[in-house]
Structure formats: C-alpha cells, structure tokens
C-alpha cells in the first residue's frame, strides 16, 4: 500500500522523537514495554530505594517528592485532562491535611482507615462545589475565580474556630497513620506508605484515563462545543474533573499531615500552588508518568539547589548534560570542552603571573570540584564586585549566544562556559538562597524550550 500524506506527517513525529543511533535503540526498546510493566518497574525501583537505609534527610526529601507527585497527579486531572485551569487546588491539599488533623488527633483519634476515606469523599464534594463555578466561567476567568478559593481556605484556617483549627499556630501532635493496632512511625514506613498510595492512584487514574470518562475529559479540553454536540454533558464532566482532582489532592494532604505530625496554614500558600503547577508543567501535563516525574524532579531539584555542595553538582552536571545533548557532532563537542579547559588554564596562568592578587581568592566550591577548578577559574580575593560584573557579562553572553549565527556559536560557547564557571565560583555559590531561585528559573526555562510539552508529555497542537 503506498504511503499517504497523513502517514508521512504522523511518522515524521515518530522519526524525530526516535532520533538516530543509540537514541533510536532506546526509543524502540522503550516502546515495547507496556504501561503496567513500567508502573511495576517504577514501584520496584521505589521499593529498592526504600531499602537503601539512607539518612533521614534524604528520606524526608523522598517522601516530599512522593507527596508532590501525588499533588501533581491530582492537578493533572483538572488541568492536564479536562483543561480546567483550577487555581484553587492547593485548598484541597490543605483540606486533606486539616481534615486528617481534625479527625485523627485531639479528641477524635479515628483510625486512618476511617479518616482518610472520609476526607477523600468530603474533598470530592467540596471540589465539585468549587467546580460549579466552571459552568459559568472558563479559561483565565475560571483561574481568577478559583484562585480565591485557595485564599479563602487560608483565611478560614487562620481565623475560624481557632480552638479546633489552631489558627496561625496550626495543629500539632497528630496521630501517626494507624489502623488495626499497627501504626507507621518511621520515615521509611511513610516512604513505603506514600509509594503504595501513589502507585494505587496511578493505576486507578490510568484505568480512568482510558475509559469513557477520560476520553470525555480530553474532548472537553479539546473543544467544548464539539464535545457537547457529541453527547458529552460538559458541565457535569468539568465538575467531576475538579472534584476528582480535589480528592486526590486531599489524599496527598492526609499523608503530608500524618507524616509531618503537624499542619500550619503556611503549608498551603499560593507558593505551594505554583510549585505544584511547576511539577505538572515540567513533567508534562496530560501524562500520568509525566505528572509523577515532574513532582519528583522539582522536589529533588529544589532540595539540591538549596545546598551549596549539591548545587555545584547540579550546575556543572546540567551544563555538561546540555552540551552532550545539544552540541553535535562529537568533534565539535570535544573541541568546545577542550577549548574551555585550555582557555581557563591559560587565562589563570597569565593573569596570575601579571597580577597575583587577581587569582588570590579560592573557588566557592569545596571538595573535589573545588580542588579541580582551583587552578582554572579566576577568583580574586574580594570577589563581590567582580562576581556581579561576571554575572551581567554571563547574561549578555547567553543572550548573544541565542542571537548569533549557527557557525559562530561554538566559538562563543567557550568563553560563555568559562564566564559561567568563574561567576559560579566567585559569586553565585556564595549566596545559595538567591542562586537556588536563579538556578531553578534557568532550569525551567531551558527545559521548557527544549521540551515545551514537558518531560514526558505529548506534543499538542493548538490550531492547525
């Protein structure tokens, strides 16, 4: 059968995604594994991770990653599938946490097996009530209206019945998750618990995604009028989507509250909402695996950038990864790397010989990275002003890099990389909290340019 235009167009996307060489091998191998085996592999990897007996700090990050994965997974129902821009979502996270706090502590002390389902159901109803708004407003307007729900939640827990909800002081001394006489007390236990809850949610949502409801949600996202004309009651489906999202968000809230042992109003601010959106968008809205991966990547990434030592690995690692992924052919890549190293060593030696005080400072990195770069980067004794100038130069260079012709790019890349390293060692690493924000921003920009559909999302077209 001759190949038609449609086939060519469709296969073109496949071909582009598949790439060549080892990437093609990976791509075809990956395509052979079905959804359920993949979930099983991911859960297995999680179980193995839990067995590693890592320190409690890392375990806490892992639990947070799973909680954000759940949150992102829930948001995906409303935003990724049904296309409803629900900015009230963080209220349901808070609702779940406070729901657990009230039901499973203080005077009630209900078992988790009772309280979590109650919170789940109540959140679904609360979510559906908020979803009623979507009948009258859509798009940006829905976003503005639902944003108020998150704010209202904060005001309620801050001010209403401070005896029962704790007000600004929050609620503490919550019961650990307990049922049938057993209870979860260790971080490792919570890690496993969160892992199982997440896996169950992923499985159920996958079954829902491939059912009539999932299809109808996506149809509503694609074209509401056409969906309505094709027998889909769009109003009911939008309410359902926001309700389901709320319920999943609330489950994440119960795990969060039980593990943290306390809840505060500040745990559920608009900042958290933005972070959850970042997880979903980075991972790939519309994809279950993407939402989960986004939650993990953003949580772990945030943790890494806030510790100077890890931030160094992330900084140099991502630059190397970006170069390996983007600079072709291999000879050019090798030339850029060698050129950068040689440029640094030469400049360091020359400047050091002429003007010793200019290289008198030591790089901000410690450990083997610091050792490795100490004779390469130029760091003067008092590096603040110097670092600021380099930072501005770096911005100019990066901008120039995006504007110049392809054939000059490799040449400009060498000084850019060197300036980036010098700037990092002399200035950026010294202010970890500000640098963390810059780094997260840069990573988000780079990822969204490279993969606008998110890490595991599918490319979507708007109008063709």
């Amino acid at each position: 059968m001759p190949i038609g235009v449609d086939e060519w167009v469709a296969q073109h996307t496949d071909r582009r995604d598949a790439g060549t060489g080892w990437r093609r091998v990976m791509y075809t191998a990956e395509a052979r594994v079905g959804w359920w085996p993949r979930l099983a592999i991911a859960v297995l990897a999680g179980l193995v991770f839990g067995q590693l007996n890592l320190n409690s700090n890392i375990e806490q990050v892992a639990i947070n990653a799973l909680i954000y994965a759940m949150l992102s997974l829930g948001l995906n129902i409303a935003v990724g599938w049904a296309g409803q821009l629900d900015l009230g979502y963080v209220a349901f996270f808070g609702f779940g946490a406070y729901g657990y706090a009230v039901l499973s502590s203080g005077t009630t002390h209900w078992a988790a097996i009772v309280s979590i389902p109650i919170v789940f159901g109540a959140a679904a109803i609360f979510g559906a009530a908020v979803g009623l708004v979507s009948l009258r407003v859509s798009g940006d307007y829905l976003a503005i209206v639902t944003l108020f729900v998150g704010q209202a939640f904060m005001e309620v827990v801050n001010n209403v019945d401070t005896g029962k909800l704790g007000g600004v002081n929050g609620l503490f001394g919550l019961d650990p998750i307990h049922a049938f006489g057993a209870q979860i007390t260790t971080p490792q236990g919570y890690f496993y618990f969160a892992l199982v809850v997440l896996a169950v949610l992923m499985g159920l949502l996958h079954l829902l995604d491939t059912s009539r409801t999932g299809r109808a949600w996506r149809a509503v996202r694609e074209d509401e009028l056409a969906a309505e004309a094709m027998t889909i009651p769009t109003g009911a489906l939008k309410i359902m989507a926001i309700g389901f999202a709320a319920a999943v968000g609330a489950v994440a809230g119960t795990v969060f509250a039980a593990q943290q042992d306390n809840v505060f109003p500040t745990n559920f601010t608009a900042n958290i909402l933005i972070l959850i959106y970042a997880c979903l968008v980075l991972g790939g809205a519309g994809s279950i695996a993407g939402a989960v991966l986004g939650g993990i990547v953003v949580t772990v990434g945030q943790q890494m950038v806030s510790s100077p030592a890890d931030a160094g690995y992330l900084f140099y690692g991502l630059i190397l990864l970006g170069l390996v992924a983007k600079v072709r052919p291999w000879r050019k890549l090798a030339a850029v790397l060698v050129g950068t190293v040689v440029l640094g060593l030469a400049l360091n030696a020359i400047v050091g010989a002429i003007w010793p005080s200019a290289t008198a400072g030591s790089p901000g990195s410690t450990g083997w990275i610091g050792h490795l770069v100490s004779n390469w980067v130029i760091v003067p004794k008092d590096a603040v002003g110097y670092g600021n100038v380099l930072y501005i130069a770096l911005i100019v260079l990066v901008f120039a890099l995006t504007r110049i012709r392809e054939q000059w790019r490799a040449y400009l890349l060498v000084p850019t990389l060197y300036v980036a390293a010098c700037c990092w060692e002399s200035r950026l690493i010294v202010n970890p909290s500000i640098t963390a924000q810059i780094l997260i921003g840069a990573i988000l920009i780079a990822t969204m340019i490279a993969r606008p559909q998110g890490l595991l999302g599918t490319m979507r077209v708007e109008v063709m």
């Binding site: 449609d6 694609e222 009028l225 056409a226 309505e228 004309a229 094709m230 769009t234 359902m240």
Partner: protein
Amino acid sequence: MEGHAPLLELDGLGITFGGLRALTSLDLTVAGSEIVSIIGPNGAGKTTVFNAITGVYAPDEGDIRLAGESIAGRPIHKITDAGIARTFQSLRLFLNMTVRENVMAATYGATKATPLESMMRLPRARREAREVHALTEEVLSFFGERLAGYRWDQPAYSLSYANRRRLEIARALATRPKLLLLDEPAAGMNPNETLEVTEVIARLRDELSLAILVIEHDMHVVEGISDRVVALDHGVKVTEGSFDQVANHPAVVEAYMGRDPEALAEA
C-alpha cells in the same frame, strides 16, 4: 405518510440576535431517509438553522420537533442523544486525540459505566468498552480505504484536510443518529474528493437509512444528492422543491446573481 410525523419539523422558527432577525418563521421538514439541501448566499442563516436544531441557540419563536416530540430548549448533548448529530463548517475535531478516540468520545451518551465501574473494570464497563470498540471499527470502516486501519491510532491533527472532514462524519455517526446535519461537507475539497463526498452522502442514506440535512455551496454536490432543496436568504425561506425548480426560481437567481439590470431600469 398520513398520521406519521416527519422526522424533523421546524415550525415557524424564529431567531433574533439583538436587533438582527437571523431566522424568520421558518418552516422546514425532513422525512426519514431523505436528503434535503439548504442553499443560500453567505449570511443567509443556514448555519443558524443548524445551531438552532442542535440546541446551540434556543429558538425565540416557533418549535423544533424530532419525530413529533419537541426538542426546542433542550441541552445540546440531549438533542444529540435524541438522534441528531452534526458536523461543523469550521472543523472542530478533538485534534490532540487519536482518530479512534475522536469516534469513541462520541459514544459517551450511549454508555453508562460510572468512573468507579471503569476504574474497577466491572462487567458493565467491560461490555460497553467492547461495544464501543466494535462500533468505532464499524463507523471508521464506512470510509473504506480512506480512513484505513493503520491511521486510527494517530492524532487527528496529522490527518489531511479531506480526512478531517471524513472523520467529522464518522464521529457524528458514532452517536447513532437518525438525522445527520452536514455543514458544507465538500468545502475545501478538490473535484475528486468532492465526487467522493457526494457518493458517501448517498451511501449514508441508502445503507444506513439516515435522513440528512446538508448545507452546501457546491451546486454539483447539491444537484447530485438532494431529494429536495430549500433556498434561504436573509433568514427567510425563498422557495423549496426539486433542484431544478429551486435553481431556476427567479428569487434564487436574484439572491445569488443580483437583479437583471434591465429589469431594474424598468422598475
């Protein structure tokens, strides 16, 4: 036919947008297995008729009856459930869903499994899923080679223009309609494809015994398929009858071509 209500009956239908009378006391009937074409210049109100029938606009006056039962004022999806499916003039496919999913989505109203049943894959959900799959294959197969099997798992945006039009018809068929409304099915197609559309529309009537109301500008298509033609201008029915009667009606000629200058001079 005595005692049988026609399948679709518009009775004195009037629609007003602010001060603009889009449709004025329009009477129109479509019988079972009949193909009726609506023609008229741009802005005559043809698509407004479709939007009124499918519930996008509620009629300001008059009534719309499907098999004798009034459907005016019902929600859009209920009207489709009742047996009226449509295609859109400016294609409105679910572009980022696969070809198969586009068709499957249109079976929502005919299936009943709740989300819980779907998640648990309970018997009803499984049975419905099988039925939906079978229906999808059947509906897509209606277009034979053109929407052949190996294209069904590609996103709809990868389809060519003509295939998007075909998919819109397939999607409408998946709602199991009694009456199909086609809004310019041949727009933007080349002569070969236009000929094919004409055949498809005739087959829809002959093989699936559908009644079809079609808006079309291409007079070859209108001539080829119509059992009856209705001409609209400025929201008013100018005339109706066989293609030859309508095409040669002075008011239709005037609406399309303007008045004979000599006649104007005399007037």
